[in-house]
Symmetry: C2
Subunit: 326 residues, 2 copies
């Protein structure tokens, strides 16, 4: 049984996982859908009630029925590197490849439908509430009056994008910023705006979930940090991420979230306040983990390799111990 | 409880359903996501574990918690008609609108995830097989040699697109065509090709499914029809669609298909052969039904209105009788 990894050629994070799978003797095929019809070929036959599908990558033939799991890492756009690329060829190749892969019994990390759904921030906030996580008061609106009233109730606000990243090539992250108390909210009418109560935080928390495993990392806010530096991705910092213990109630809620979202992998961002409460900010279903593993030494790549190599919902042991260690 | 219909302004098919809902006294809101921030506004508040969302259309305010059902008919691209449209505004508006709607308890016809999955032809073929429908031998391939061998086993073939429609604006349907027995299959290497055994048909069948209801229509092939006229959408024909009875085994299989696909609406195309077997060709989750209702008098619009107005999986009675009548 083979593990299929859909990603681009240059992906050092995928390399880490491939290495672990190789050490465990698990067959791996790495494929970039962008190479379809130019290095990658596919075939599926539907005859007499049965289906037999095959992929060919660099001359190697793999049966789709023999796929154990599929890791959707950073796949390129289908047929983007074909000899004569076109929107039509991309559409045909995308439908053919994913249409066949969707028909297999392989486990997905993450399934394309779950991944797409999980990107919706409003849906994330609602699911986090339902799962029992603490969610800062949030408003998403195009009504200036609603924004003004919200700012009166919650004077200390941040603003952030609804969709997460600016659709540029490459996508650009838009930093979360504080809203001045005397802000003019009339421009809200021109586009959905996400306003959120600012959590006065003493630490940022990144919780990486792989199947049933929770690997938390924590970075205390620098004592001299400026209160306007709300976005850990952009704030200057010299302190590294450190392994952290997950509070039991948060762990339960996160498991509920993952189950309901049908995700096998998720990277949660929390803001920890002075009382130790972890406030849910977002769950990125394709969040990076290399920087956490580098800082903390937590075996995230090994956990992913273990999940991909496993064949059930049981926690695979490939990663060894070391997660959740404080 | 309100029915929300996502569609463009000019949609006579939606008009038919709106009319039926109006007759039944069911509140309806019709909204085109393209009008977001320019006629359509939205707001969602997440405070203390609860979520309250609102939509405003033409000055009318609707609570998202009060939505009974959502009909995704022909929605425009979010914010496409905003005062200053942009890819960024579209992304933000799309995520905000669908992210909130996905968090409601409304029933969907069809849910966006189910709709997206259902468009994959290879997935359709496999599901049809599993559901117990007769599926003509089919090959989807980029291997010329596989195509040649398939043509030797099944010399009478048609070729059709994998993805259904050419991604133009407006999308262009690519007709299904016969493949000459001496075809050169070397070009298959440049793009996925769908080859299918041609079913020598005596009739085309369109089976419209609305919830649990099956409404079948049949159009006999003209006695003088040319065998190359395989695609009913493009073949010249003067005979109308007539109501048809659904064979019990086909009905069972179609119910299985719909349930597994999580679809509330689907338009199945079958080719009926000389033995009366219905061969599955495809299921279009957004297939038109106006032309069938016009020819057959079958109450499809009423059935859709009944489903949207209903609040369970039970068959609503709004459409009256008349379906499945021979």
């Amino acid at each position: 049984m083979t593990v299929l990894i859909l990603t681009s050629e240059e992906d050092v994070t995928a390399d880490m996982v491939v290495l672990r799978l190789g050490e465990a003797g698990v067959p791996v095929v790495r494929l970039d859908p962008a190479d379809l019809t130019n290095g990658v070929a596919l075939s599926g036959e539907y005859v007499q009630g049965a289906c037999r599908g095959h992929l060919s990558v660099g001359g190697r033939l793999v049966s789709m029925n023999g796929l154990r799991s599929i890791w959707v890492r950073r796949p390129g756009q289908a047929a983007a590197r074909a000899a004569q690329p076109s929107a039509w060829l991309t559409e045909e190749s995308d439908q053919a490849l994913y249409g066949m892969l969707r028909s297999t019994d392989a486990r997905w990390m993450n399934h394309p439908d779950a991944a797409r759904r999980a990107r919706h921030k409003p849906w994330q906030l609602r699911l986090a509430q339902r799962a029992g996580l603490a969610v800062p008061a949030t408003l998403i609106t195009t009504f200036p009056q609603a924004a003004r009233e919200f700012a009166e109730r919650f004077p200390d606000l941040v603003v952030k994008p609804v969709s997460g990243a600016h659709p540029q090539e490459p996508p650009r992250a838009v930093p979360t910023s504080r809203v001045a108390p005397d802000a003019d909210f009339s421009a809200v009418a021109f586009g959905p705006t996400l306003l959120q109560r600012r959590v006065p935080k003493r630490a940022d928390v990144r919780l990486t979930v792989v199947g049933e495993r929770l690997l938390a990392a924590r970075k205390p806010v620098d004592p001299g940090a400026h209160p306007d530096d709300v976005d850990v991705r952009f704030a200057p910092s010299v302190s590294p991420w450190l392994p952290a213990q997950v509070p039991p109630r948060v762990a339960e809620a996160v498991h509920r979230y993952m189950k309901c979202a049908e995700l096998a992998y998720g990277a949660f961002d929390f803001a920890e306040d002075a009382d130790g409460i972890w406030w849910f900010l977002e769950c990125n279903q394709s969040g990076q983990f290399g920087f956490v593993e580098m800082d903390t030494g937590q075996p995230i790549a090994a956990a992913i390799a273990g999940w991909l190599a496993g064949d059930g919902d049981a926690v695979p042991s490939a990663g060894g111990d070391g997660d959740q260690a404080g």
